[in-house]
Amino acid sequence: MIVVSHRRRERSKERGGATWIRVAGLGLALSAPAAVVAQPTFGPQGRATVLENATILRPGGETTPAAMIVIRGESIEHIGPAIEIQGRATRIDLQGAFVTPGLIDVCSALGMTATRSASPVNRAFDAFDRYNAEMFREAFRNGVTMMYLPATGASGAVGTSAIVRLAPGEGGGWAGEVVRQDAALCIDLGSGESALRRLSTLDALRKQFKDAKSYRESLETYDEELKEYEKKIKERAEKEAKEKKEGDKPAPGGAPTQQRPEQPAPAEGAKPEEKKDEITKPKKPGTDPGAEVLLKTLDREMPVRIRADRSSDILNALDLAREFNLDVTIEGGSEAHLVARQLADAEVPVVLGSMLGPGLHRDDQFRRARDDAAAVLSAAGVKWALGSGATDQAAGRFLLLNAQMLAAHVPGVDPLSLVTKDAADFLGLGDRFGRLQPRRPADLVVWSGHPLEADSRVQRVYVDGRLVFRDDGSTESAAGGEEQ
């Protein structure tokens, strides 16, 4: 349930309508069935954007023609047959245009600069160029609205990834909205490096995870020792109190209160405290933020994405997952099809990247790449998803083209599903993104024709209900309550 509290929102400039409109959206009553919205249940000041005569494309290829999409606030209020809209609305005629959800990239390097250090405390989002207006625009020009950004640029445990939505920032700038910080721990097994370096990377990782375990043990030991200490202190205090009580009662020699009962009545009771049993307070181990991150992965609170291309590295990744009981996904996976059975047995999914790269020469770690690798994975029962890849900063723009390239080699794959609902489900965000449904955030793309046709272009992109990109116009007019 998305609730917009009394937040002032700046809306994008709409041609023919008022320019900058502040909308103080009341709590959106979103439970009203969309088909009966004759009497809207929102505040009269909630201006709606009505996309009319749109062809909605359902993943799988089916289309729903002449549909109406009503966007109010940041959500889709209605999608389906045309209905009567009351209150103020900006109407946009989308005759001939197609509407899809915003495209979602399960592995992108868009706007990223690679980190050169590897540490679990690195955060990918820190390397994301949040004010790169051209990058945002080119992503929108190709329909991309959300992406998973891995930490890259070194081997080992590189950092944690983020899921970012290309949302405009307050005040008209860009900032990107972090949908999920620390989405996964990114590990790179350095498939492009020499065998020796790859082995030492793996060794170092094992040690890191073991160290994290001993860090936890030392914390646990400390906790136990602390408890023990507190217990002892308490016991002693109780004992003292008891003895004091007892001592008060008989008072044979009018003993002073300071005297410890366990002490054999010292004649020279000048410093009794020094002579009691030593109870030392345990020393707290220093905090290790890197180990804290690894502990989350050991507890399976944070998933792990392991970048591995060579089959040997993938098998090593599976070993690592087994040894430390990690929730692992393989990223890259140029040779994943060679170890499909092992991946299926371990129930480890694979994130495939750019369909471009190895070329026809095919050397190094990509030499056994196959265009139809996804079909082999599917046949073996391995779950997979397709992103634009973690290495090419500019490739994130062409996510849908990449999906189309894959679809040409893998039977039964719908490229559009891959980069909308499948991607959202894969990232665990399927309940909010990747599908056009009422009450969901209005992240949608208007295409001049069928999105898979070569000459279709993105005309409009809405993120969070706001128009964030627009290329050549379609007729629209501000109507219905404009006078109010």
Partner: protein, 395 residues
Amino acid sequence: MSARSFLFTAAMGCLVVCGMTGAAQARQPRTAISAPWAVGPDGSLMKDVTVIIVGGRIERVIQGPADVAVDRTIRFESGVISPGLIDAASTLGVVGDNIERKSVFDPDASVVEALDALSPALRAAGQAGVTAAMIRPAPSGIISGSAATVRTISPSGAERIIRGEGPLAVTLGPGSWDVDLGPTSRAGVLHELREAMRAAKAEGGASRLARMARGELDVIVEADSAEDVDAALRLFGQYSLAPVFRHASDAVETASELGQAKALVVVGPYTYSSELRLLAGPARLVSAGCEVAFCGGLPFLEADALRLSAALAVRYGLDPAAARRGLTINAARAAGLGNRVGALTPGADADIVIFSGDPLRLDSRVVEVWIAGERVHQAPPQAPQEADGWKAWEE
């Protein structure tokens, strides 16, 4: 003469005895390939087309219902018949350094001599629908030798090398400047080239330079900067040569001059990393009056990268028909083979690819590849794509 008459009589006799089978053996068999769509010579998609093939060549292209007696009919219920795609500048099948670095003038070098006909990259490209590629010498020196055009798959009876000589590769700009061997400046390169062509023309003879100077041997110019494009237009214009331009990332700056000359510009390869300015180049060139042909960076990129280059250019404004021409007939024209391959026209070699959809759509796959009228590749059948019944919206 009498032997021929005898054969004829024998054949007629066979016809009488064996009926139609005998007739089919006596003359060359005719094959009809039909599909709901085909790429026309102008790059647009034509509906309902049948291509009749005889003797390795296209005999007729019929739009609409075809009622022609043929020996074999292959009908595709869906898909697009396309001329085989041609990479307009690649090093497919060429092993190692393909240029001799002893002189800045090396017109007699032939890149075709560096061809490894057994390279698996050739066949892989063919199976992706790239039936031919112009292979070119590396852009270095002023004249680095002759390009050639090869088939990626050649069944018995079809030549591997469609054109062994030409066009001649000329490089202007820093690629041709050489401290040790020749001129070190733009002016120096132009001077030497002008002198060499003037001398060759005066001398006459059958050398490649002389033939080029007489306008008998075509030329492909690598010119990175706008001023080099401009200089080449003027220099070769004097010899009535219309050079094909390549690697002209700055060609957009001189789009109007190139457009006036109706120049053919080889563009690409475009990849996911290509800059905006470059991606928008083909649209600008075509709107100025040029034609474009694509190269796909093969074999350093996937074979599909050729279609990707065209698809990206279309995404950034290029007309789809111009893009399809760029993958087929214009690439053939760049190689000097415009009347031989690259179009579904009578008389052309029957180098044909059947795609499952528009070749510009990257999700279209190669269904069959035919070279010189022979089927050389057939993709394994795919189950029809099924909608998964997911509901996009709920009421």
